[in-house]
Point group: C2
């Protein structure tokens, strides 16, 4: 496995691939099993696997955790090597932004709800850095997790609208045994918070079961999920929402492909989780992808 720190070095490596396809997993590092599952998936499609590690300042708000976002390059590169990654691209901030970027990629409509509401500018920062990384890595395949379902919808829209020549692969969320979704931010939780953090998963599971049992009113299911999370006094709800997926439009009745999404703060730590479900007249199924 080779570590690459500059765009110029990567470009010269990229030119040496002739018929081989490139699979790409962009990350902010502090790898966990969720990231490893993305690596394993992209390896099924591509000849060469590239992982990037870059904590992108552009997608953090002024009062967010950019400075304290967990970083551990040595552990990350060891995990990447064990997972069979061929190249790890680790640019520093000056390499990615030698001058403040004047170019912003904005996705209308699907960036204003959910995390976009509490993190204004976040998805512009995501779309812009992903556009940059696609232009640098020039992958044939790129793999993202469903854990960040709104992000997946944004990247899907970016690729579609800008005709980016990359195939998007979305992978299911990886969970701890008690249901908590894997996240680099889970290490912020103290033991009591960690114990109660399963409430996100439990609320989603209950919401899914309610729809499975026949409930079709969005407001009813949302209200019950909200009540469930609120039963944990240290859990502060940012949002509980149910929207069409991936268009993220409002719904009065549950029908079609649907995103059930929650964001909850435990102290300073903000956790997100979601289920994607398919509601037909006959059945209700859990699914993933766009």
């Amino acid at each position: 496995m080779k570590i690459v720190r500059t765009i110029q070095e990567w470009r010269s490596i990229r030119r040496s691939f002739e018929q081989q396809t490139v699979g790409f997993v962009p990350t902010m590092g502090y790898l966990h099993d969720g990231h490893i599952s993305l690596i394993k998936e992209v390896q099924q499609h591509a000849d060469i696997t590239v992982l990037s590690i870059f904590v992108n300042p552009l997608q953090f708000g002024q009062n967010e955790d950019y400075g304290s976002y967990p970083r551990d390059e040595e552990k990350d590169t060891n995990m990447a090597q064990l997972a069979g990654v061929d190249y790890v691209f680790i640019p520093d901030v000056k390499e990615m932004y030698p001058a403040p970027t004047r170019t912003k990629v904005h996705i209308e409509g699907i960036t204003e709800q959910l995390c976009g509401r509490s993190r204004p500018g976040h998805f512009d920062g995501v779309a812009t850095v992903v556009a940059k990384l696609f232009n640098i890595i020039q992958p044939d395949y790129a793999c993202f997790g469903q854990k960040d379902a709104q992000q997946a919808a944004v990247i899907h829209q970016l690729i579609t609208d800008l005709n980016i020549p990359v195939e998007l692969i979305i992978c299911p969320t990886i969970r701890e045994e008690d249901g908590l979704a894997r996240s680099s931010r889970n290490i912020y939780l103290d033991s009591e918070q960690r114990q109660h953090a399963t409430i996100l998963y439990e609320a989603l599971r209950d919401g899914f079961k309610e729809v499975e049992a026949g409930e079709r009113k969005t407001e009813t299911v949302k209200a019950n999920m909200f009540k469930k999370i609120n039963s944990v006094s240290m859990a502060h709800i940012d949002y509980v929402d149910i929207l069409s997926y991936p268009s993220l439009g409002g719904l009065s009745q549950l029908q079609g492909k649907i995103l059930m999404a929650v964001a909850v703060r435990f102290g300073a730590t903000r956790l997100i989780d979601n289920f994607i479900i398919e509601v037909n007249d006959q059945e209700v199924t859990l699914c993933f992808g766009i």
Copy 2:
């Protein structure tokens, strides 16, 4: 020469090029000698020449000339063939925008002055379609004219900020014998307007001479250029401006690389022109490019 109308067809042709480099000239058609000079220039760099013809609705304002913009596909493809173009990409609007784009590429700072002021949203439309075309054509070189100097600065910023793997080539403005810059919109002019349209060139030339003679106050040079154009009663000034280039910042004193730019309406027809000059203590020279 082959005409290609769909993205899918082009992608399969593009994959067949192995070591050959691709040079790209994006246009809105109605080709003139200015476009031909771009084709000739890109042929000096690349093995394969691709010309696109697409009148991009996204870069026209509601009251602008999208509907009436001159089109002549047969003449254009004949001229392209004579010029030695290998592929002409002529997508229709549905091919480029199968659904309204939710993704907009915005360049801050250098899109607000000059044409950006009188054509709000224009450069977002340009940046977005050029990002799309770059992702579709995947050129190694792309050639634009200095006639659209602000556009060239915008594309330069787009390529830099988004790390687009293309080399930008800017070509000098091609003029009629009397100095009028070649433009597809010149055919809108009636004979009297055409005769007076040289005032753009004359004002720029006089402004340049004034700087050459030692004047360094921006406002003085601008005022004289303004007065010159205003001497033609049928000429309605949109702007006369002098800015740093390519950063397009304001200047009180003329020093360094400078854009002198004018936009003037003759009836419903809006013409633009510019000089790029380099001002040092010792000398003042005409130049082009970024």
